[in-house]
Symmetry: C2
Subunit: 221 residues, 2 copies
DNA sequence: ATAGAATACGAACGATCGTACTATTAAATC
DNA sequence: GATTTAATAGTACGATCGTTCGTATTCTAT
């Protein structure tokens, strides 16, 4: 049954949904999921309010779909490239480089999408916060696993949870400060902080150099 | 001229302004400065919309006044108590303890006021962002000075700017994570991270113990 | 051919937003 | 006591919010 793929109506709808979400993630990253307004979104897309709402149902549904769309972008930009890097310390370091590049490149206008909307919804119970919290748990767990896998290269690593927390905090700090002050130098501070931390844990500093493994296939070297 | 102090009209106005701002900072810490609505604020205060707006002028003025009010609270809660602690490493450590307590105690419902509203306004140019950026610069500089003063107690400290950045990032990370996941354990992770970092710089671990100097006058010891 | 589903639009809804204008009350100044 | 100033309320304005309803269009399935 290729029916689902061939249905012209659904294909058209999915294309519209994707185009809508492409704008929605950008808008939400700067205005927040609350500030993401259906009217503004429709105007920017050259569509009608009712058309947009018809595609998603309610505003809450749109917000959740927007989060999911941002997650896809994040996975393609950070997670998957990191998984192509050699297990262990190289991958742990690649995660940091990839994340800092993702933030600095403003893949989302407002910096890291999840940092922007988590700050907005951190103290507001509801399905939005629950979803964001679950994504954050996944993200922390991903780094914890990478840290644990890097343990052979980090002889003095005692607590992967602690290291994951610190790493995320440092990266988020660079994201926030660079946005607020319009300066890229915080990314260097973050890189230094993490590098020094890993070296203190016994890492071979040769592994922790720029540039990170490129997104392309394993290089010739 | 004690005229300003004695004017009953202005006294009444200032009292109203203060009561309004007391609610405004709480609301803004959870809803953001954009989500801070004059109507809702008035309703919660049992006042009228026009009465609230008359006290502040425009919404932008209200937002700026709210930031200033939050700053006063922050200074009284963190900065001033820290300045009562002995210069050097004890003060640097006290700043961290006081900030983490300030965040954990939910002096503002939404955690640290400035983290909440900075995330909201980090990518939106304007006077609000400028004010928040200036406050953040002050805050970072305050910690840098404390770190520099602690240099005799931190023989391996090479870069106070780097240390200030990391310290703030770790504390902010605890604030964000504790809000999102409704757990206090991130504050312990932050304390551990900063303590270990300071010890790595050569700090005497005896200085880095709980509890921090109480807010009260210099203790008998 | 026709019934049904999915996409899209336009118009209108009640609610709330920030703001402006007017009026009333209380306090200070002359 | 009259005038000025500040604080507050009341009302109304235009804009925008999310949502609903009716309808036209496009494609699939019978």
């Amino acid at each position: 049954m290729t029916a689902t793929e061939l249905d012209g109506r659904r294909r058209r709808g999915n294309a519209s949904r994707q185009a809508t979400l492409d704008r929605a993630v950008q808008l939400a990253s700067t205005e927040g999921l609350e500030g993401l307004s259906i009217g503004q979104l429709a105007t920017e897309l050259g569509a009608s309010k009712s058309g947009v709402i018809a595609l998603f149902g309610t505003k809450l549904d749109l917000q959740l779909a927007t989060i999911e769309a941002a997650r896809s972008v994040f996975i393609a930009t950070v997670i998957e490239p990191a998984l192509r890097v050699q297990r262990g310390l190289p991958r742990l370091w690649a995660i940091c480089e990839l994340w800092l590049d993702y933030s600095e490149a403003r893949v989302f206008q407002g910096g890291c999408f999840f940092r922007a909307v988590s700050a907005e919804n951190g103290s507001k119970p509801g399905p939005v916060r629950d979803t964001l919290a679950a994504i954050d748990v996944d993200w922390l767990a991903f780094i914890e696993r990478a840290a644990t896998s890097a343990q052979p290269d980090l002889p003095r690593l005692a607590d992967a949870v602690q290291l994951a927390f610190e790493t995320v905090a440092i990266m988020d700090g660079a994201n926030t400060a660079s946005l607020l002050h319009g300066s890229a130098r915080y990314y260097e501070l973050a890189r230094s902080a993490i590098r020094d931390r890993l070296i203190a844990l016994g890492a071979d500093s040769a592994v922790l150099s720029r540039p990170a493994a490129p997104t392309a296939a394993p290089a010739t070297g």
